[in-house]
């Protein structure tokens, strides 16, 4: 039986540990601390936790002011509100001056589930990736989340971390070592490669296993740092396999798929099949139902890999 933990739970837990290690760490939330799991930090360090109410724009501005005064603020809410509602505040008050603010957002993607499209962020990676100075990380599971949040707190400068709501399989072992800006090859293979992020890494590994039974060797690369993107690893595996699939719980516009296609378009043109949300909003449903309906499951990945193989030159 696989172990399942949500990335937001992993965040809540590591934040308490980081709070102990870094006295300058402060946390802000916009009335969603029980959902984003920052409530754990609030319990341990009430004087360093700022409840900002349902006012995301002010939360980001306040985080900027705290950073300007030497604090390391982690500002959390749902991804759709963090990046959409407060985009201009992130752009002008945080990213432009390159302030040391960590925007750690939960409930990203369609696996928010029943709340529907208003709460399902499918464009946050795109919005954050286009901002100069911004680092963008999409952890694949709870193990990587703990390490990525730690790395974000320990680096200087603005960083966006994308977390999810549902419990998801823990796929990385305790020996896994997250490196900021480096993609991790989780499975080698010569026939095709899947560059995946977030919950799609697990599905990519499953798709690779399915295709192994058909005699195909599919590599899986976990591209958890979407910015700065690990060009070297992406080009290397595109060269090795010449059949590329990207997989993300995000719009095919502007996210990982776009980032990979941009790099390969300039450095090593090969067919790239993007698996993601295809220019539509989400809708209500259970996370698993939605992943199937939006073709973000293992079967869809198997088909996408076959499509990429069919176009291979």
């Amino acid at each position: 039986m696989e172990r399942k933990i949500s990335t937001r739970d992993a965040y809540g837990k590591v934040l308490v540990e980081l709070g102990r290690r870094y006295p300058e760490l402060v946390v802000l939330d916009a009335d969603l601390s029980k959902s984003t799991k920052t409530s754990e930090f609030a319990k341990h360090y009430p004087e360093r936790f700022f409840e900002m109410g349902i006012a995301e724009q002010n939360m980001m501005g306040t985080a900027a002011g705290l950073a300007l005064s030497g604090k390391i603020p982690c500002a959390s809410t749902f991804a759709v509100f963090a990046t959409g509602r407060a985009y201009d505040q992130i752009r002008n008050a945080i990213a432009y001056p390159g302030l040391n603010v960590k925007i750690i957002a939960s409930h990203a993607g369609i696996t928010v589930g029943e709340d529907g499209a208003s709460h399902q962020s499918i464009e946050d990676i795109s919005l954050m990736r286009t901002l100069p100075n911004m680092t963008v990380i999409v952890p694949a599971d709870a193990v990587e989340t703990a390490q990525a949040v730690t790395a974000a707190v320990e680096m200087r400068g603005p960083c966006y971390i994308r977390l999810g709501r549902p419990a998801v399989p823990v796929i990385l072992g305790d020996d896994y070592h997250f490196q900021l800006g480096r993609a991790a090859v989780l499975r080698e293979g010569k026939d095709a490669v899947v560059f995946a992020a977030g919950i799609m890494v697990h599905k990519a590994l499953k798709a690779a296993s399915v295709l192994e039974a058909e005699g195909l060797e599919v590599a899986v690369v976990n591209v958890s740092t979407i910015k700065p993107l690990d060009h070297g690893t992406i080009v290397k595996w595109a060269k090795k396999t010449r059949a590329v699939v990207t997989a993300e719980e995000h719009s095919i516009y502007g996210g990982l798929g776009s980032a990979v296609a941009e790099v390969l378009g300039e450095e090593y043109p090969v067919p790239v099949i993007r698996v993601g949300v295809k220019d539509r909003f989400g809708e209500s449903g259970s996370p698993d139902e939605l992943l199937t309906a939006f073709q973000l499951n293992t079967d869809s990945l198997v088909n996408a890999i076959k499509k990429a193989l069919g176009r291979k030159k």
């Binding site: 402060v26 004087e47 360093r48 700022f50 900002m52 109410g53 006012a55 724009q57 002010n58 939360m59 980001m60 501005g61 306040t62 985080a63 900027a64 002011g65 705290l66 950073a67 300007l68 005064s69 030497g70 604090k71 603020p73 201009d88 505040q89 752009r91 002008n92 008050a93 432009y96 001056p97 390159g98 302030l99």
Partner: protein, 278 residues
């Protein structure tokens, strides 16, 4: 009024005159920028930089310094003129305003020019930033104060009221806002464009201590800043009644001078008027 106070006022008036002249010269040289709202806030910012703020220009990031955030970032020429006059960087550099490679960006950019405390320009954001600085000061048990200058048109931004609510909620007694109430914005008088009035009542309702002053009178301003420093259990708001374009006859009260620079001839006339005024 003691002799020392009178001397201080005379000094401030002289500084204000220099700063006004520099604003005109900078804008004329740049060929673009915002004279109206720079000139309306001259006395406010002069009082802050030459009497109120605890600063060390030679150590711009001194941890115990008072902070000033120019939320109405388009008044950047005023901020730069005051910073240069206070010794944060050479006055000569003022004429690089808005030019390629300059540290004097069209709107204040943090990290480039000593003394600039935040990146502003997108209206409505400065009070939130100031609140963050105030909360950090309290957390660190430092006794610095934070001052934020807002525009009246800027009060149309929703974020201002989010910040107003939060500052009162956190009883940020170390935070003072000054509102440059010059009554005009790009498209016309504020009441016609989108009335934010009545301003004092709104700020009081949001939990702030409020005072109204003549924003061109140094005695009024200094008394108000003294008062603000004694309000320690709430954030304080000084609503400064001002004249847009103050000090230049053809700019005063004229909407058209919100965001256009004077040409060389007009600048010459403006400088003459400011110089003659005493």
């Amino acid at each position: 009024m003691t002799e020392a106070q009178e001397e201080l006022i005379r000094d401030l008036e002289a500084k204000a005159k220099t700063i006004r002249k520099n604003i005109i010269s900078m804008l004329a040289e740049a060929g673009s920028g915002h004279p109206g709202g720079s000139l309306s806030s001259v006395e406010i910012v002069t009082a802050l930089y030459f009497s109120v703020l605890r600063l060390k220009p030679e150590e711009p990031l001194w941890q115990d310094r008072d902070r000033f955030v120019l939320s109405k970032g388009h008044a950047a020429p005023l901020l730069y003129a005051a910073l240069a006059e206070r010794g944060f960087f050479p006055v000569d550099e003022l004429l690089t305003l808005r030019k390629l490679g300059s540290r004097l960006q069209g709107h204040p950019a943090w990290g480039m020019l000593p003394g600039v405390e935040a990146s502003t320009g997108s209206l409505g954001q400065g009070l939130s930033i100031g609140l963050g600085m105030a909360l950090a000061g309290r957390l660190d048990q430092r006794d610095y104060r934070v001052y934020v200058l807002l525009g009246d048109g800027e009060s149309q931004e929703g974020q201002v009221w989010e910040a107003a609510m939060a500052a009162a909620h956190y009883r940020a007694g170390n935070l003072t806002a000054i509102l440059d109430y010059n009554g005009l914005q790009i498209d016309g008088p504020i009441e016609e464009v989108m009335s934010p009035l009545p301003l004092p009542d709104k700020w009081r309702a949001f939990g702030w201590e409020v005072r109204e002053v003549d924003g061109h009178n140094f005695r009024d301003l200094l008394t108000a800043f003294d008062w603000a420093q004694k309000v320690n259990d709430k954030p304080s708001m000084i609503i400064a009644h001002t004249i847009k374009g103050k000090g230049v006859s053809f700019m005063e009260g004229m909407v058209d001078w919100h965001g256009k620079a004077p040409d060389k001839k007009m600048a010459g006339q403006a400088l003459e008027e400011i110089g003659a005024e005493s």
